[in-house]
């Protein structure tokens, strides 16, 4: 759906915000672009949408070049920018209708009505934007982006300043759109978010795309699980019959932690438990912990520094 080839962006200040980006976005997927502040997420989105010009490289959308065929490519794209920028004195209805016209679509009040209703904005349709709360404005921005029925939707940090309820609604809507065939690219700092909603995840840092992976694959590949045993009596060292296991002692010897790979056929848990009872080690409690995408992300970002 989107093909990004060798894209670089050097701002007028001389700062290189994108460094040789190569990326292909598939139709009807939710792609999460993850990265710390200043990584280049907004710049990448802006380059695809035509807000900034890439210094070099090529971007195609639906097989068409975004520069020479901008009329075709931009019609397909809806963008919800990171900043809440609205015309304060316009009403919700006029601003959303304006966006539809700007993107070359015939007026369609019924469609605008449907869009506003799906975003719970219908009762606010005649309110001026200045009278709306931040979360409502964010929804208006989404309505504007959806007003011309795009097949690609960019959401640049859609959940900044959005409460839990709205966030849930938003993800619901995003999934719905994806199921209707819309390709969605969103950026976020929150790893849980990417984990929750994305089909694929790209990690960007210092203008470089350091990883692009299917979410499930990513979590499987890098995901180790831990079995945590709270012991009755502290241990000073790992018992001799268990040195083959990947074990750690923590909490002054009161916790025994076993790390294992979830993708292995035999996790070795039952054998470990047998060994424990042979060695006469009693435990009060047992639990497992899976490393989240967050841990993966943090370790990745650290690695490349």
């Amino acid at each position: 759906m989107i093909q990004i080839t060798d894209v670089n962006k050097i701002y007028a200040s001389g700062f290189q915000a994108l460094n040789n980006i190569n990326l292909a976005i598939k139709p009807a997927e939710i792609f999460a672009l993850l990265g710390p502040n200043g990584a280049g997420k907004t710049t990448l989105i802006s380059a695809i949408c035509g807000i900034v010009d890439a210094t070099s490289g090529q971007i195609t959308v639906d097989g068409k070049d975004i520069v020479s065929d901008y009329r075709h490519t931009r019609r397909l794209i809806g963008l919800v920018p990171q900043e809440l920028t609205t015309d304060a004195f316009e009403t919700v209805w006029t601003t959303v209708s304006f966006s539809r016209g700007l993107f070359g679509k015939k007026p369609d009040p019924a469609f605008i009505e449907k869009t506003l209703k799906s975003l719970s904005l219908w009762n606010k349709k005649d309110s001026r934007l200045i009278e709306l709360s931040g979360g409502m404005k964010r929804r208006v921005m989404i309505a504007k982006a959806l007003s011309h029925e795009p097949t690609i939707l960019f959401l640049d940090e859609p959940t900044a300043g959005v409460d839990v309820e709205l966030r849930k609604d938003m993800w619901q809507l995003v999934r719905q759109l994806r199921d209707d065939g819309v390709t969605i690219i969103l950026t976020t700092h929150y790893i849980e978010e990417a984990e929750e909603i994305a089909d694929r995840i790209g990690v960007i840092k210092n203008g470089q795309l350091i990883l692009v992976e299917d979410k499930i694959m990513l979590m499987n590949q890098l995901g180790t699980k831990q079995l945590i045993l709270d012991l009755k009596e502290p241990l000073t060292e790992i018992p001799a019959n268990m040195t083959d296991f990947n074990l750690q002692l923590k909490n002054n010897g009161l916790q025994l932690i076993y790390s294992y790979d979830t993708t292995e056929e035999h996790t070795g848990i039952s054998v470990l438990l047998q060994h424990l009872s042979v060695a006469g080690i009693a435990f009060k409690d047992i639990k497992t912990d899976q490393s989240s995408l967050e841990d993966i992300f943090v370790s990745l970002v650290k690695e490349t520094t």
Binding site: D53, L79, P81, T85, D87, S97, G101, L102
Partner: protein
């Protein structure tokens, strides 16, 4: 041609006028009317006729030009500058519109507004001074062409400006003096020779002269000269705007 986009921008800008009706219509109408009262009714009766036209009537075309020029410029420049200022320009930049379509929407709306304003002022002037319009067609032609030309000029300023000061400086320190010194209040022939020569370099002088001719058939220069200067300035603005779009100057970051 993305005509829905042009229509959307045009409508948006016209709606903005409705919201700011005081600043964009009522206030210029009032301030121009003050001139008519002061010069037309009060002082005007003590000033002799110029070229067979009573003084109050003589100054009407120039004063209409003053509002037309300043409003065309400020409407168009503000229209395109404001989205840059608030950040809503992102939508314009990411939309499937060409620079020409953007221009058509903004300049079209600005020219419409200032033409309407000029007509309102003309109607108001009627209350204060005796008016006759010898060539209504030419009068409208001058109005519309001047509105388009200076809206274009305002559009260029709006693209160039990166703060509010720059936005206001041109109408204030260039246009207003040019109008006042361009023969709004006097016939150039009343000036000493040196100032007559200086006036020849004031483009607004030709506009006012032509416009006034359409009312009273009195002019400082021939109609052809006025038309040529106006056409020349329009061509200059078109050239500048083409160059700006080609180079991507300032619209695109």
């Amino acid at each position: 041609m993305n005509r829905y986009a042009v229509a959307a921008i045009y409508k948006f800008e016209m709606a903005r006028t409705k919201r700011t009706i005081f600043q964009s219509i009522i206030s210029p109408v009032i301030s121009t009317s003050l001139y008519f009262v002061v010069f037309g009714s009060a002082i005007g009766s003590r000033i002799t006729e110029i070229g067979g036209v009573s003084y109050g009537a003589f100054i009407v075309p120039g004063l209409i030009m003053l509002s037309l020029l300043t409003q065309s410029i400020s409407n168009a420049s503000f229209g395109i500058y404001f989205p840059k200022f608030t950040g809503t320009i992102y939508e314009l930049l990411s939309a499937p519109v060409s620079s020409f379509e953007v221009l058509l929407g903004y300049v079209g709306a600005a020219a419409t507004k200032s033409t309407l304003l000029a007509l309102i002022i003309l109607a108001t002037a009627h209350f204060f001074v005796p008016l006759e319009i010898a060539h209504p067609f030419w009068m409208l032609f001058f109005l519309v062409m001047t509105a388009i030309t200076f809206s274009l000029f305002g559009f260029i300023i709006g693209i160039w400006a990166d703060n509010f000061e720059k936005l206001q400086v041109i109408p204030l320190i260039i246009i207003t003096p040019l109008v006042f010194l361009g023969g709004t209040f006097y016939s150039v022939s009343m000036l000493p020779p040196f100032w007559q020569t200086v006036t020849q370099f004031n483009p607004v002088f030709y506009l006012i002269s032509g416009f006034r001719w359409s009312f009273y058939e009195v002019a400082d220069v021939s109609l052809i000269t006025s038309l040529c200067v106006m056409g020349g300035f329009l061509a200059l603005c078109l050239l500048a705007v083409t160059w700006i779009f080609k180079s991507g100057y300032q619209i695109r970051r």
